[in-house]
């Protein structure tokens, strides 16, 4: 960890998910990363050591570091997404650690929605299995740009280059159907630490980087869309004070592109046009604002703008429509997707009613085949649907912008978030 403040202030942030099936060593890998980066403290270690002993585990059970809830400890499984943090002098890392059981697809999608990178673990003895495909497909669906495939337990296959190559070509064949631009392969032993932080001495034949080095150096400069300027208005700031009597500021988080003082803008849906007067910060004005900054704009003209409106640059509007096509992941165990069902759709800071017009097909996430004859969409199912909204929404395709291309559906009877969607058109 860097103690040099200047260096620390220069660090950037990488969010990644880890996915794997039961017993493929995911917890061991995370434990190893945290331990070797000195992010596990003595009292945490002591607590885990003691629990392991009480449970009768032979070695210190690193899974206990991440399994925090009582029922998880009792059942020895991970129920929910757990977030873990560590830092090297180069980067701060946020791990969304998601469980691998089939019934927890929704957690994997949740963890992947904010990730820049996904680590997929494969047991070197077993090669690519159904869960590997499922996890990779979810990473691809959520448009994660980098996958790092860790072929684990190399110690159990005699550090065999042939076995590694076999797994790699298996995976590559499957991955040709995915939409992930960067895939790296690393042979590791999470248990013994080979190629996790330090280069393995047991696998001279591997010429690539160890995992931590890869995580520290992977390029993440293109994670946000810096082309199409989008600013969903979150909150209108009106101080009503003597000093700021006429102040009317539009607060929000830049969802795409760059906004500068003087830029000609349009407000959607009204279509009113104006110019950015100032980009405010508590310490003074900013020259420009870009994704994902939280800022406040004032405009040259006094026009009516409220939460849910979107400020965009003139000549580069998003699509506006009451009909959208999307991939939907169903999250509710209490209710299935209803064709002709009515929901509230939350998209950026906007919220409108919607009708689930048509279920086009389901996706079999193990084979990636379209399933057209099964009309039941339940918890953890993924489907392509068309949706009609009660008012136009202003969006970009999810592929182009993860912020303006994503939405959730809320069940008005239970208030629960029942689905997550990615807009195709």
């Amino acid at each position: 960890m860097s103690t040099d403040t200047k260096g620390y202030l220069d660090m950037d942030l990488l969010r990644f998910t880890t996915a794997g099936s039961v017993d493929d060593g995911k917890s061991t890998l995370i434990g190893r990363l945290l331990y070797d980066c000195k992010s596990i403290f003595e009292d945490q270690w002591d607590a885990v050591e003691q629990s392991s002993k009480q449970r009768g585990d032979e070695n210190v059970n690193l899974a206990l570091l991440t399994d925090g809830l009582r029922s998880e400890r009792e059942q020895g499984i991970t129920i929910d997404v757990a977030y873990r943090y560590f830092a090297t002098p180069k980067r701060k890392f946020i791990i969304a650690d998601t469980p691998g059981h089939i019934q927890y697809t929704r957690n994997m999608v949740t963890g992947a929605s904010t990730a820049n990178l996904a680590i997929i673990l494969i047991d070197a003895r077993n090669g690519v299995i159904e869960q590997t495909c499922r996890h990779s497909f979810i990473a691809s669906l959520l448009q994660i740009q980098h996958i790092v495939v860790c072929v684990n337990k190399m110690d159990l296959v005699d550090w065999s280059e042939d076995q590694f190559n076999k797994v790699v070509s298996q995976y590559k064949e499957f991955a040709s159907r995915l939409d992930v631009p960067h895939i790296d392969f690393i042979p590791i032993s999470a248990l013994l630490g080979d190629n996790v932080v330090d280069r393995s001495e047991n696998m001279d034949w591997y010429k690539g980087s160890p995992l931590l080095y890869t995580l520290e150096n992977v390029y993440i400069g293109n994670e946000h869309n810096h082309v199409d300027a989008r600013f969903p208005v979150q909150w209108v700031i009106r101080p009503h004070s003597d000093e700021y009597h006429d102040f009317r500021g539009y607060a929000g988080r830049v969802a795409g592109g760059v906004f500068k003082q003087g830029d000609a803008i349009t407000v959607l849906p009204s279509g009113f046009e104006s110019k950015i007067k100032r980009v405010h910060d508590i310490n003074g004005d900013l020259e420009e604002a870009f994704a994902p900054m939280s800022v406040t704009f004032t405009l040259e003209d006094e026009i009516d703008i409220s939460r849910g409106n979107m400020i965009v640059k003139q000549n580069n509007p998003p699509e506006s429509s009451q009909q959208i096509e999307a991939m939907l992941v169903w999250f509710s165990s209490q209710s299935d997707l209803l064709e002709s069902g009515r929901y509230t759709i939350r998209h950026t800071t906007n919220e409108v009613k919607c009708l689930l017009k048509e279920l086009k097909y389901k996706v079999d996430i193990n084979t990636l085949h379209k399933v057209e004859d099964d009309r039941e969409v339940k918890l953890n199912d993924i489907a392509r649907v068309s949706i009609q909204t009660s008012a136009p929404i202003h969006f970009d395709r999810y592929r182009r912008n993860r912020v303006t291309g994503s939405f959730v559906l809320i069940d008005d009877h239970t208030n629960n978030t029942v689905a997550a969607g990615m807009i195709i058109s």
């Binding site: 950037d12 942030l13 809830l69 029922s71 943090y85």
Partner: protein
């Protein structure tokens, strides 16, 4: 701002932008939010972020302090000064009043902690004022049960948390819908670590109560925790007051906030100490040591 070229934000500025976004969502999605203020460094950082989120307007929510009656004097003084400084509104919920009214019962025994007694006081002040969202400064790196909590954490009408039935949170879409009588706890600092908080305090030049810095104080060693001398702690037979240079890593009740021996008297020294620390900051909290899932159990009942 020490931004990089090609539109990259440093990690601290990303965390800041995320927290400000969450605070504005709370103002927009809820009718009567409140900010739970403990006087600790995390809630002081929260106030700073809230100022930034709504500037030049005042904070659109009051600061609510659950006063155990066992607070460090320095914390109370600091709180009052800060409230004045940000022109904020302060609401104090008193644990003593809960005890006097018979809704809470003082623990008996050796060092009776009022930590758990904060629960009825907190739930009461929420109900009395109809707060529908309480902003808290808890972080996921603090404790293992917290690592699984959402930014928007739903509470039923009894204030209880159901960890196995949490709402999924994707991208930056937060669902604050609820039925009458329910409320939310919202944690804008979820993704911050202790180190991030200290670095941000340095970056923003935020002032803190002086108990965070090294000072000379009388204390007693109990179960390898250092407790500051106060009227609420009685010495055991084989114990005695010692004196030395100490400071707090977290600030809570005097009866359970352990201090560390330290000579760090400025932010840079503290950052150095945090980086070298071998114990988590809650490692000195007697309230967490009561059982392996002490935090989870308290949270289910409605703790912060």
């Amino acid at each position: 701002m020490s931004e990089r070229n090609n539109y990259q934000l440093t990690h601290l500025h990303q965390l800041e932008a995320e927290s400000i976004f969450i605070m504005r969502e709370v103002a927009a999605q809820f009718g009567k939010p409140a900010l739970l203020f403990s006087g600790g460094k995390d809630s002081i950082v929260m106030v700073r972020l809230a100022q930034k989120a709504f500037w030049p307007a005042k904070l659109p929510f009051p600061l609510v302090h659950v006063d155990t009656g066992h607070n460090f004097n320095e914390t109370i003084q600091f709180r009052d000064d800060l409230v004045k400084d940000v022109c904020g509104d302060l609401v104090v919920a008193s644990v003593q009043e809960e005890i006097d009214a018979g809704r809470a019962k003082e623990e008996s025994g050796l060092n009776p902690s009022r930590n758990r007694l904060q629960i009825p006081a907190l739930l009461n002040v929420i109900e009395k004022n109809s707060y529908d969202a309480c902003l808290g400064g808890a972080r996921r790196d603090e404790e293992k049960a917290r690592a699984k909590e959402r930014f928007f954490s739903h509470r039923n009408s009894f204030g209880e948390w159901d960890p196995k039935n949490q709402r999924p949170e994707l991208w930056n879409l937060f669902n604050g819908k609820m039925d009458f009588g329910e409320h939310f706890r919202v944690f804008p600092l979820s993704n911050w670590t202790e180190m991030d908080v200290w670095q941000y305090i340095k970056l923003e030049d935020i002032s803190l109560p002086n108990i965070y810095f090294s000072h000379n104080r009388e204390f007693v060693r109990r179960n390898s925790i250092l407790l500051g001398k106060c009227e609420h702690i009685t010495l055991l037979d084989n114990e005695e007051w010692e004196s030395g240079n100490v400071r707090c890593r977290t600030v809570g009740d005097m009866t359970c906030t352990g201090m560390v021996e330290s000579v760090a008297n400025n932010i840079d020294d503290i950052i150095e100490e945090v980086a070298a620390a071998r114990q988590t900051e809650r490692g000195g909290r007697a309230d967490d040591k009561r059982s392996e899932t002490a935090m989870e159990d308290r949270k289910k009942e409605g703790y912060f």
